[in-house]
Symmetry: C2
Subunit: 531 residues, 2 copies
């Protein structure tokens, strides 16, 4: 592979690994190819951790402008990789070139958005409560606060987003923007892509003269490599995108440390779709087509793939099921990003098909060694209510169609849900009003509600929330997408009666960074620029 030789990137250098070896796999053939990568060893993780700890104070002290330049340099570097990156990602994941190009564009956009956030600067939530030495019975102190970085962040990339949720993806971009060094545990499904991107980040760190410990890429297929990273005392927080099992394991490890650290794990979900009666009657067939198309995107390898659709039996339901069955049944199986995904999908289908569930449609078998076969499953709500397995994710292009006998059963189905990233409601006329209680309950289970659309497609914008109650994410108070995701990696810090010239610039009286601030409890905008 061009520019890739299977090294870890530690301390600004490519370092030959010494742990157990593994290779990338061509998902269309199932055959390994390319250089041998190695599970990061204890010594390699110790080296990267110590360097990150040493880099943390000076990286935290960089100016917002410096960090914005770092992010833009990385973005430019990703673009400059051109077709080499697209070819590499496609070879390792079987994702089509156009999808990879779009994902790179999104990755670049994320980096640019965080650079713009740093340019604006006001995200630090600067607050000033001025003192009053004359206050009785006690003088009022001068108290000022702003957000500061937590320290080194361990990032675990996702298999299904080799760029946007990987080495230079959203977690890395937000952590670097916050001023936290980043140690990436590369996903073993795309190690070459990880190394290519990692070299871009490493070069950007060097080009800006930042400490070499600001960034590291550690490869690893073994759980132990990841566990050692989470246990390293230098690590202050963890970002993870992946399976429920993996996320839970990291949460447990982090909670058991002598000093527990926060983990933001985005673990995916079923993303239920409710089709309310008037919408069902008016456009059952069209809704079925929409849902099927959404479920077939990237062969269901999205955290937001619609895994369940539910409705109350009545006019339009036959058309809904028929269109789901026709569209999913007509689709050909396509490759997954890695053989492990196919194995997990087959295992989940076996579990589910052993329950009182009908296989209503199955797509054409594919030729790829790792192919996932689109599947429509159908069950009565009474069965789903009895079987917890039917209420948890099947990662891949499977949709469970759930027929409810009546409104009470739909309500019970919603009440029985765990957390999801999203829920979608199709409603026409007075549907939303008539089912307000059901929608309110649905809201308590999700991070995002979508009306008359599909859950796939996560707009990268200030108002987006990509997270939700457990098990969709490990902490519903944060989002993995959008500029608010920076809050995962920062903490408020307060200075009391501090010498004016030793205060951070964001908190000085003359507001040299021109930030929106809260002063004496009131929001203040900066005065217009003089020039």
């Amino acid at each position: 592979m061009n520019g890739v030789d299977g090294r870890h990137l530690i301390g600004g250098r490519a370092v030959a690994g010494s742990g157990d070896g593994f290779q990338a796999v061509d998902p269309t053939t199932g055959q390994p190819f390319g250089p041998v990568f190695h599970d990061a060893t204890a010594a390699e993780i110790e080296s990267a951790g110590a360097l990150a700890a040493a880099a943390a104070p000076s990286f935290a002290a960089t100016s917002p402008a410096q960090r914005a330049r770092l992010l833009r340099t990385i973005a430019d570097g990703l673009s400059a990789l051109g077709d080499a990156l697209v070819t590499m990602v496609s070879a390792e994941t079987a994702l089509p070139a156009v999808r990879v190009q779009n994902e790179r564009a999104r990755t670049v956009l994320q980096l640019q958005q965080f650079a713009a956030l740093l340019d604006d600067g006001s995200w630090v939530d600067a607050r000033i409560d001025r003192g009053d030495p004359a206050r009785q019975p006690q003088p009022k102190p001068d108290v000022r606060s702003m957000l500061v970085p937590l320290g080194p962040v361990a990032v675990f990339g996702a298999s299904n987003f080799p760029l946007a949720y990987s080495v230079a993806g959203g977690d890395t971009a937000s952590a670097l923007a916050a001023g936290c060094p980043v140690l990436v545990k590369g996903h073993p499904a795309h190690p070459g892509s990880s190394e290519l991107v990692g070299r871009v980040v490493m070069a950007a760190v060097a080009a800006l003269g930042l400490p070499a410990g600001t960034f590291a890429l550690l490869h690893g297929r073994s759980h132990e490599s990841g566990a050692m990273l989470v246990r390293h005392p230098a690590i202050a927080a963890v970002g993870f995108t992946g399976s429920h099992q993996g996320g839970r394991a990291l949460c447990d490890l982090a909670a058991a440390r002598p000093q527990p650290i926060p983990v933001f794990a985005e673990m995916g979900s079923m993303n239920p779709v409710l089709v309310l009666p008037r919408a069902l009657a008016a456009r059952g067939a069209a809704i079925g087509e929409q849902i099927a198309a959404s479920a077939l995107l990237a062969m269901g390898q999205f955290c937001t793939s619609p895994g369940m659709v539910a409705w109350i039996e009545g006019a339009g339901d036959a058309a809904l099921v028929a269109s789901l069955a026709s569209k999913l049944g007509a689709a050909a199986a396509g490759p997954s990003v890695h053989p492990s995904i196919r194995a997990g999908y087959e295992r989940a289908l076996q579990q589910v098909e052993a329950l009182p569930v009908e296989v209503a449609a199955r797509g054409a078998p594919g030729t790829a060694a790792t192919a996932l076969c689109p599947t429509l499953l159908a069950a009565r709500a009474s069965v789903v209510l009895q079987q917890p397995r039917l209420r948890s994710e099947i990662y891949g292009p499977a949709v469970l169609a759930v027929r409810c006998r009546d409104r009470g059963e739909l309500s019970a189905l919603v009440a029985a849900q765990g957390g999801h990233l999203t829920a979608t409601v199709h409603g026409d006329g007075d549907d939303f009003g008539a089912f307000g209680d059901v929608v309110a309950m649905l809201q308590s289970k999700v991070g995002r509600l979508i009306a008359n659309g599909v859950p796939t497609g996560v707009e990268v914008c200030a108002a987006m929330v990509h997270g939700g109650p457990w098990p969709a994410a490990s902490d519903a108070r944060f989002s993995a997408v959008g500029t608010t995701s920076i809050r995962r990696w920062v903490r408020p810090m307060c200075w009391q009666d501090w010498p004016r010239d030793a205060l951070p610039l964001a908190l000085r009286d003359d507001n040299p960074l021109r930030l929106r601030r809260m002063v004496d409890g009131r929001h203040e905008l900066p005065a217009p620029a003089a020039n």
Copy 2:
């Protein structure tokens, strides 16, 4: 006791307990008195949890104005208790009446500040990214987000703040403001005070016609009562103020749940004070007096009590130590809030005095059965660096004076610190500049830096941060004091292409609540009111 009969408060009613009994203790005599309270049983916790789960959706749907009225009604109720409350709290905790009056004033202020936050409304961080159906290659969805309540919160009151961090204290006020039902596990050191205040909250909930499950008070001395509460599936988050041991136990329980939940535990700290050379030379004696006075407040029973003072040996250090010794040695032992506090203090002193530490001064023995005796300990930095026990809190009026040989040893001492709520730096002239690296390292260990003051006294204002890295608090990303503490109990929620008339008021186009919002990535202030 007037108006107190040892009941739990569940579902809007006083309920006779059935678990093991216990009584309040008079700290001056060590004798139990008053009605018998009971450890909350599994059935009582199940009842309160189920009611809270049932109340959560309708309480979440209350208007900000309704919740503001609830908080103000509670505040008024606390004031209306008059001397009865002061007498009760003093009897149970031996805190002097004036301290109890001040603490009630602070508790009332906290409730009023959250009511004002609700009046203003903008804390919900409303964000609107407007859609663009014409965008290529895909239409841009309309995406809107705001903060919504997490669900029922379990609050564990503190022994040392029977009002401000107890039944209607900061955790309860912030959670109710957020729209979360609150289940308080009352601290067994002041059960009568808890019941008095709990009855005020219960009456306010009833007076406003809110669901009875919005609030419960459960008594308990056993760890098992608290553990059952944290494990209850209805509980969405935990607020705790207390010991490191207790906080860690609750964190571990919460992390081990089938659905882990966030815990904010404020566990206190040593709050180191550094005296830099010019300040030491100029005002060593005065600084020693300040620190001693701070350590003697409430007999050291503050999370922010100064437990360590460190300096580089040189001019002024003899005066610093002499004034610390004289002031602490001249103070009489005073009662703690509960016999368990004295037992813990004595145990900690025994551990520490077994190490190479000098007892430099000891106050006069007190008459109270639970008296804590002021103690000045002295040790070389080299010893403190070797002995982790010397770097962790002794809860009570003990100060460890640490003499550093040189700047390198001071720097090493700071580097060896765990997390603290605060650190204080005394510096004159160019001290802050000359020790910039030491102060920067100190900053990474604390939530609040104080210049030339004392750590006790937590101003309740928008910029205050009361929290810090582990073990000062369980999650440094949040504060227990100030209006930002509401963020512990809320999560962002997003609506995509949602019907305009089904959106929350905060997110409607015409901004009927007149909030500051972020629209298309830009901050917007509401238009001036028409009337």
